[in-house]
Point group: C2
Chain length 82, copies 2
């Protein structure tokens, strides 16, 4: 079993209105030290496979399902292997 | 400057229908080795402060804004200090 965390974010060039709104809300709480907020999604995926096959599986799943490559990009990290 | 990544997820006891739906979709792609999918949000927050003050700020921001403690829980990690 391999646990993978896939992070999906807007590309740097894409404006993140939700992040800007949250930053404003944080400022209104008095936390003016916050200078930037970016929002993203993550997917904790458990695979019954070995670590060698994870990269291929994650790429296929992201390409075909999880990521809108027009606006988004992804990274992932292997959390643990049990 | 400190960069913090805050992860917000459903509590273990709360059913995650989006994760279940994505798992089914992944299976229909042929990736039957995927046994579980959990979905979460993350927030990349940049704070113009030092690391000592991060824990207090993150707790306040999460308590007052980002987390619905009825259904959700959070963790965070300091990504880097510049």
């Amino acid at each position: 079993m391999v646990n993978v965390r896939i992070f999906v974010t807007y590309k740097q060039s894409v404006f993140d209105p939700q992040g800007e709104t949250i930053k404003d809300a944080i400022h209104s709480l008095g936390h003016d030290e916050v200078t930037a907020v970016k929002v993203g999604k993550f997917f904790d995926v458990t695979l019954d496979t070995n670590e060698d096959e994870v990269a291929t599986a994650v790429k296929e799943i992201d390409d075909q399902l999880l990521v809108n490559f027009n606006m988004e990009t992804y990274t992932y990290q292997v959390m643990e292997e049990a």
